[in-house]
Each structure stands twice: as C-alpha cells, then as structure tokens.
C-alpha cells in the first residue's frame, strides 16, 4: 500500500460508518486523493465505494475518523457544507435518479441557483458547463428525450456548474485542474483512465496503486476479485511470448496495445 503525502485535496482518515439498519458502510477506511489526480475506486458491491463517496461530499458524516478537505477537517455546519459542495461534486450512477427538471438548462442551473448565485452568473456557468461536456446543441431538448450517455453528460454539467473555480478548471481541464474520482466495476476502463487505482474491500481501502505500476501487482490484484485489466494480461502474455522486451512501459489501453503490436509488425517485416 502506497502512502502519498504530497498534496492531498481530499483525505479520509480511519473513517467508520454504520447505516441505521446496522450494516457496516466503512470500517476504518483511509485514503488520500491527490490534487489533480484521477483515482478509480474498484470493489465488489457493498464494499463501501458509494458510502465513501457520500462522505467526500459531506452527505454522510463519519461516526469516527475524519474527512479532510484541503487539509482541514470538514465543517458540517451550513456554511461549511455549502463550501464543500461548491468544490466537491457528485455524479451518480443512474442519470434518471438525479435529473428532475424538464429541460437540460434548467437542470444544470439547479446547483448554482442553490448556491445563491445571481441569475447572470448562473446563466454563464450553465453555458460554460454545457460547452465543457459538449451538450450545447442538445440544451433545449427535454431531458427525457436524451440518450443514456447524453443524460450522463447533463449530470456532469450539473456538477461542473456548481464549481467555484469553474472557469479556471475548464481552462486547465486537460492540464491538472480537476481532481476526479470514479467508482467502477470495469477494470479495463479504470486501468486506461486512472492515475491511481484504489481497491475497496468490506469497508476499507485495501490497496492503492499507481496505474503505471499495476503490472507488478497483477497477482495481488487477482486476490481481490475485482478482475485484472485484460490489456495488462495480454501484454504480459505477449511479453512471455517474446513479442516485447521485458522492460517495456506499461500499455494501458486496447488501442495502445494494438499500436505497439503494429509497430512490432512493421519492425518485424522490415529486415
């Protein structure tokens, strides 16, 4: 388990949480999220991924342990939550459960209006957020006519529009502006997308690895039952087959691997 201490923007420290029905949500979970990083949370159903997310946004409050935002313990007063939620947004699995307005623009404006911003600012933010997710063209459609993927984008826009430093974030989106954490079952996608892979297991964060170093941990990964990236497996098999040298950098996506193979084919056919 890797400990990073550089600049965590969000941190949970030994958080315990039990639901009113007695089931354990988190059982002493610790994890630090680095500023500007992309973290993927992996784990079985009920491992605590959602519970952890709800803690990061202040919707659930730890029974013991602490949640830190920018190094400070979260203030659960009204002002504190206001501040936290204007910086930390949540997008849920199922867009139909979080979109409740008739029109796309109306839904995106929900958060910023709740922040108490004036109409002009809200209007600007909505347009910026629409642009950022590439949904400007669909902005006047009723929400129920959108596809699943489009609804998902509207959800993301709704969260983007709440962010205090939206303009800066959007400028730097491709640099290191926004810290993103996702919970997923799709190991292939996680491996391709994330910088850090964190494995949740029965209420604790069992491991947290840099994606680039994952190939070294494949055996350990198998033990968690969250699957192994197919690309990493394939890459390993091909290296064993002698197609690649042993010290090749980790290949993290299907298309990268295809490219690498094509390159090999070109090299192989040249002499």
């Amino acid at each position: 388990m890797k400990q990073q201490t550089t600049d965590p923007i969000l941190e949970v420290q030994a958080v315990r949480f039990r639901y009113p029905d007695g089931s354990v949500g988190l059982d002493g979970c610790s994890l630090a999220i680095q500023r500007g990083s992309r973290t993927a949370l992996l784990g079985a159903n009920g491992a605590g991924k959602s519970t952890l997310f709800l803690h990061l946004n202040g919707i659930l409050r730890p029974m013991s342990g602490a949640v830190l935002f920018e190094g400070l313990p979260v203030d659960y007063g009204r002002q504190g939550l206001h501040h936290l939620r204007s910086r930390v947004g949540l997008v849920f699995q199922n867009p139909d459960r979080q979109l409740f307005s008739a029109r796309v623009r109306e839904d995106i404006s929900f958060g910023p209006l709740n922040l108490g911003l004036d109409a002009g600012t809200v209007r600007n933010r909505v347009e910026e957020a629409l642009l950022a997710v590439g949904m400007t063209a669909c902005a006047d459609k009723p929400v129920h006519n959108l596809s699943f993927g489009q609804k998902k984008r509207v959800c993301i826009a709704g969260v983007l529009a709440m962010q205090a430093e939206l303009a800066q974030i959007l400028d730097r989106l491709h640099a290191e502006g926004m810290t993103v954490i996702i919970a997923t079952h799709d190991m292939d996608y996680a491996y391709q997308w994330a910088d850090v892979l964190a494995i949740m297991d029965t209420g604790i964060c069992a491991a947290s690895w840099d994606a680039a170093q994952l190939p070294a941990y494949l055996d350990q990964l198998e033990g968690f039952g969250v699957g192994v990236p197919r690309v990493a497996e394939m890459h390993k098999a091909l290296a064993a087959c002698g197609l690649f040298g042993p010290d090749l950098p980790a290949v993290r996506s299907h298309s990268e691997l295809l490219d690498a193979i094509a390159k090999m084919a070109a090299v192989g056919s040249r002499p």
Binding site: I59, G89, R97, Q98, F100, F110, N114, G158, M162
Partner: protein
C-alpha cells in the same frame, strides 16, 4: 423499515399466517373485552412478551417501532384528561382536570396498548406478502389484491428512487434552505409521478409477455403444520381472552 425486517427474520416467519392472524385477532378481542385498564394492560404485556420471547424480536427494536404510536397516545390522552370549559364569552375558557376523566383515560390507554400489542404481534411476525395471501384466502376482491401485490412490490422500487434522488439533490445543495427544499421536493415528486405511468406501462407489457389477460394469479404458499399452528393459536388466544375476563 424495522417491521419489515422483523417480519422476514423472526423465528415464526414460516408459521401459517392464518394462525398468527387468529392470535392477533384474539389479542384485539381481549383488548376490547377487558373491563378494567389493568386487565387490558395485562393482555398487552402478554402479547408483548409472546412477540419478544416467542418470535425472538429484539426488545429495543420493538420499543422503537411502538414509539410513534405511544407518542400519539400520550398527546391524545393528555387532551382527554384535560377538560375544556367554554364560558358565556369566548374569552372565558378554562381548563381543568376532571376526576371522571382519569378513569376514562386509563380505560382508553389500556385498550390502545392492548390493541397496539396485538397489531405489532401480527406486523412483526408476518410479512405483508403473507398477509396478502391470507386476505386472498378470505376472498378479498381481486382488484384490491392486485393493488396490494403491485403496491408492495413497487413501493420499494419507488422508495429507492426517492432516496437516491434526495441524495443527488442534497449533493447539489437542494435542501440548503426552506425555499430550496420546497422546489427540490416538488421536482422530486413530479419525476416520480411521471414514473407512475411509465412503470405501469412497462409492467403491463411484461404481464402480456407472460400471457396475462386478467387478474394477477400466483401460486399459494404452503405452510407446514398449518392445522397444528392454527389450533395452538386459537387455544392460546382463547386463553388470553378468558384471562382478561377473569382478571376484570
């Protein structure tokens, strides 16, 4: 839903619902048959002990389930105990504690506790699906049974949707102030309302695909030792009613 949880996990979950229904009915009869508040409270205590020890319901959970009803009882009993006297002018209103009031309050409280204990016995040992099955055997109108079956299934789907949407709205500060709460709650209820039609349409198509063209039909559940359980429940219930009559 604590009651729901108990109904599926208690020791008597596989006992015939007819038996549990009859015993609960005897409990209600006992509550009304008790001539003195003490007798009614005695009946409540017996039912409570049977539920907690017999069916294995944790006592703390039992209390938590009973708490809202007890609160209603406290408020109502208070207003019964206090007597309001309106004088010739509207301003001339006085409150006093009537002596005869106490006797009546005790009577009502005893009966309510006895009734509540009888209701809780049934509710905490028997799943609603079993109760619907029982109502089916009692020849309840088919439409009503269909409504109950679908309602019981769908209410969990809806409450999950409501819960998720509430969380999503809170994450976007939807309940930060009272005005926002109203607006958010309105949006929430409206989306769920639209789902009423969408879901019923989908269920209709699914029913057609399974060849349904009338009332919803299901296989009746079979309970082992049904006759034995019913005999036990009736004799126990009769003993309870007799006991209540003897005490009072």
């Amino acid at each position: 839903m604590l009651i729901e949880h108990s109904a599926y996990t208690n020791r008597w979950r596989r006992v015939s619902p007819a038996a549990k229904g009859l015993f609960s009915l005897c409990g209600l009869v006992a509550a009304y048959a008790a001539a003195t508040p003490a007798a009614a409270c005695g009946s409540a205590a017996v039912l409570c002990v049977v539920t907690v020890l017999g069916a294995g319901i944790p006592p703390l959970r039992y209390l938590r389930v009973a708490a809202p009803a007890l609160f209603f009882l406290a408020v109502s009993a208070l207003s019964l105990a206090v007597s309001l006297k309106i004088g010739p002018s509207m301003a001339d209103v006085s409150l006093h504690l009537a002596r005869t009031g106490f006797q009546r309050v005790a009577q009502v409280c005893g009966r309510s506790l006895g009734g509540l204990a009888a209701l809780l016995f049934l509710a905490m040992t028997t799943s609603l699906i079993d109760i619907i099955g029982l109502l089916r055997r009692l020849k309840t109108p088919e439409v009503l049974l269909d409504m109950m079956t679908l309602c019981y299934r769908t209410l969990f789907v809806f409450s999950e949707a409501v819960h998720d949407t509430l969380t999503a709205q809170s994450a976007r500060l939807g309940y930060a102030t009272m005005r926002h709460s109203m607006h958010s709650l309105g949006g929430l209820v409206a989306t769920i309302t639209v789902q009423v039609w969408q879901r019923s349409q989908a269920l209709h198509v699914a029913a057609l695909a399974r060849n349904n063209d009338g009332p919803l039909r299901f296989l009746e559940q079979v309970y082992p030792h049904s006759t034995r359980d019913i005999c036990l429940a009736v004799s126990g219930g009769a003993a309870l009613v007799a006991l209540v009559r003897v005490i009072s």
